[in-house]
Amino acid sequence: MHRAFCWLLAAFLALAAPSAFSADLGAADLAPLVRGLGAGSYAETEKAIAGLAETGDPAVVPVIEALQAGDLHVRKADGAVVVAKRAGNGYALTDPLTGAALGEADRNAVEKIRINNALRRTISATLGALTLMSPDANTRRQAAEAVFKSRDANALDALNTALGKETDERVRRAMTQARASVLLAGDAPDADKIVAVAVLQERGDQDARALLNGAANTGSDAVKDAATKAIASVEQRLALWGAAQNLWYGLSLGSVLLLAAIGLAVTFGVMGVINMAHGEMVMIGAYATFLVQEAFRQWAPGLFDFSILVALPVAFLVSGAVGVAIERSVIRWLYGRPLETLLATWGLSLALQQAVRSIFGPTNREVGAPSWMSGAFELGGLTITYGRLWIVVFAFLVFGALLVALRKTWFGLSIRAVTQNRSMANAMGIRTARVDALTFGLGSGIAGLAGVALSQIDNVSPNLGQGYIIDSFMVVVFGGVGNLWGTLVGALALGGVNKFLEPYAGAVLGKILVLIFIILFIQRRPRGLFALKGRAVEA
């Protein structure tokens, strides 16, 4: 989120910039250079960018940003380079340098200036060098990072000037590192390079290692030496963080498994229904998310970031309602015949998949991530993606809520009484039919919630549920049927084991090993991790 936000801010400030820095080079002098951007081939565009960059004029920043954003077009009529933004059926045109409106144009009247990866790299580097003096600290830091990546020797002067004026500590550090990167990649004197090595060693991440690697291969002996030592230290640090990173991956995979399984822990674990349609409840939740997002795209695109929050209750209710309908029409005839539920829910799962396929088509549907769930942040040497972080948080929230609902409420007590002895519960005055329907609805609704989360990381397709059903059963059974804590620990354990094995065994073998682990584990604990013991179970 922050990154996107910063870019927006940067763009905004940059747009405001021309008036602030009334240029020493007039707009008129830049115009032919700008025109050159639209000359045709990638190579020519690249040359034009270089030309613009050479001016060092902040006024070119918005032009290049427009190019980066894909807004820069050539007006076919006169070859002028303009900023064109969608407006109705055509485009609204503005002058890239002055921002003056140039009227509207038909879709076919302009042609987009294309960029490829090579150009994108040039653009980033150029923008970096140009925005090092931006009034906004964040923009300057971004700029420094861009220079760090581009290692563009031309930016060195700008960097030095900027460093001289910089007051913000964080930005300073970024600029120092950028400078180190440029120095190390270029042909600076050894002394400078060795200082640079030290700076990079302190930075200590993969990018730093990449640079140091380069230096260790090409530099003079002294530099090589320093770089090799620095690499060793960086690697050590990275290894440590790598272990932590793997833990995080395990936690994050575990929380996905937990989310997928927790609804099943209710319908299967508590109610004893071998619910083969569980995956489809998850899928329905994901499609509900899709529909909510479509509605937002249609009617309130500005509020798109909130769509997920709306999708949560909607998915819960939709999946829950489907669950209640299934319970009332099918499952309720099958209590006391748990095995038949397998057959019926399998049938339902086939039909639900096909229904969704018929309604929404067989292909994937796009569910977008709100900005606050996109991207990643660095925590020391850890890269933590926001999406995963929220899923972890969400999984634990759902788990906690369900635990409270089942343990501490009258409804929870009725559920457990009904599932343990339906007819006696009925004789005690508990309306078992209602409890059954609501319980199945609850489990399905939770599956729907899982669907919202999974839509963020996986395909939203009719097959979505199929991918989780087996894992979910494994988790619930591994943890011990009927024990929510078991489901929690089971999910985290399986996630952790999987991620622990993956680096050594690879994904395929890792998964096989996890399955074998489950088989062996069940031999040791035939009723799962959190086995209920005693007469109560055997009775």
Partner: protein, 403 residues
């Protein structure tokens, strides 16, 4: 009354429905179009659709049903290589015709199968060349789903790269199971591999469902195309339709067709397709074009032969050339593969690809890879008198290596 039946053998349910259903629809559209033009040999075409349900033995069973019970003149179908392998003996036994529209690993040539998708040399090798030349890539991650197509493609690429002087330590190979959903550490590994100070790219033969979570993870972990580009052989417009492509702009795919290709034929095709599906957002993709080409070739061959009889059609198909959708002609080669242009495209924000490179001419599909030791001496030519799918140029005999 009297019709010519055409079999459509694509999974409409199960794991492959996601890809294959579209191909069934495009076939129905093409047949409808053809019927509007009066059919073939004065007869209307009648599609026979069956659902092999992503189940490989069922593919063979349904193929047999189409050919022997429904007596179809030709079958258009299959996606995965294993489904093709499953039906192949059936087509050979019953001497019927299959058009196979998907890029595949090569190493096969059957008299009864016409391969309208890309062979490895029509996709993988040009893509790698592009990355090496235009992006200066020196380090390679070959990531794929664990099955034969990626394995073979990667084997070919490995040999090819090494022949170009790439060192072993600059190649990382990684396989994942079908439907792999958790890409966290693999993406992290890729980032790590890419931080060795050399320009790195990922060549992805990841297939099907696994792609969406893969790209979502790439986006979230901030693997930018300008830093570590990913070039995919199994990701087309249809797959991208399920992903938010903003973070993925610039990643690449190599195909023989992109929906964004600006030719009149393609514009027409897209318009018809969107009208047919009553959805102006429906996308087109490469295997659809392959069916378009294959179907038109078949029609042309049948008219040339004046009959739907398999032997006659098989013989007359070789040499048939029809327009493809990228502004040229594709011709059926004696090895039952076709000529195609190779396009490299970059992902755009709108889920389309923008062509950044196109081979100057057409590339002929090479069924037996020149980069595999056991197949480099083999060629295929189904014309008389050779009429052989695995002719060994060293021994001068038909039948593979011979012994």
């Amino acid at each position: 009354q009297d019709t010519i039946k055409v079999g459509i053998l694509h999974s409409l349910s199960g794991t492959m429905a996601i890809s294959e259903t579209t191909l069934k629809d495009v076939m129905l559209m093409l047949i409808e179009e053809q019927n509007k033009k009066g059919g073939v040999l004065g007869k209307k075409l009648e599609p026979v659709v069956v659902d092999p349900a992503s189940n490989w033995p069922l593919f063979a069973e349904k193929a047999r049903e189409l050919v022997s019970k429904d007596k179809v003149a030709a079958v258009f179908g299959c996606w995965t290589s294993v489904s093709r392998k499953s039906v192949l003996p059936v087509f050979e036994e019953l001497n019927s015709v299959l058009f196979y529209p998907v890029q595949y690993e090569g190493e096969e040539s059957s008299r009864n199968v016409f391969y309208t998708g890309a062979a490895p040399n029509q996709q993988a090798i040009p893509a790698v060349d592009y990355l090496a030349e235009k992006e200066g890539v020196q380090r390679w991650v070959l990531a794929g789903t664990d099955y034969v197509y990626p394995r073979t493609t990667n084997k070919i690429l490995e040999t090819y790269l090494k022949s170009k002087g790439v060192k072993s330590e600059d190649i990382m190979i990684n396989y994942t199971p079908f439907g792999h959903a958790d890409w966290q550490n693999i993406v992290a590994d890729i980032k790590k591999f890419g931080s060795a100070g050399k320009k790195t790219a990922v060549v992805s033969t990841i297939n099907g469902d696994a792609n969406v979570p893969f790209y979502k993870e790439l986006g979230n972990q901030g693997v930018k195309a300008q830093d570590i580009p990913v070039v995919a052989f199994s990701v087309g417009e249809e797959e991208l339709a399920g992903i938010d492509t903003k973070p993925l702009v610039g990643h690449l795919a190599a195909w023989n067709y992109f929906m964004s290709v600006d030719t009149p034929e393609n514009g027409d095709f897209i318009k018809k397709w969107q009208a047919y599906t009553k959805n102006d957002k429906r996308v087109t993709n490469d295997p659809m074009e392959a069916h378009y080409i294959g179907f038109n070739m078949w029609v042309k061959a049948v008219e040339k032969a004046g009959t739907t009889d398999s032997n006659a059609v098989i013989d007359s198909l070789v040499g048939v050339a029809v327009p493809n959708l990228t502004g040229g002609y594709s011709a059926m080669l004696p090895n039952h593969h076709i000529t195609k242009p190779v396009l490299i495209g970059e992902v755009q924000e709108n889920g389309q690809f923008e062509t950044v490179s196109k081979t100057p001419g057409l590339v002929a599909g090479d069924e037996w890879s020149d980069f595999l030791p056991d197949s480099k001496d083999l060629i295929s030519d189904w014309r008389a008198p050779m009429s052989c799918g695995n002719f060994n140029v060293k021994t001068g005999k038909c039948g593979g290596k011979g012994s």
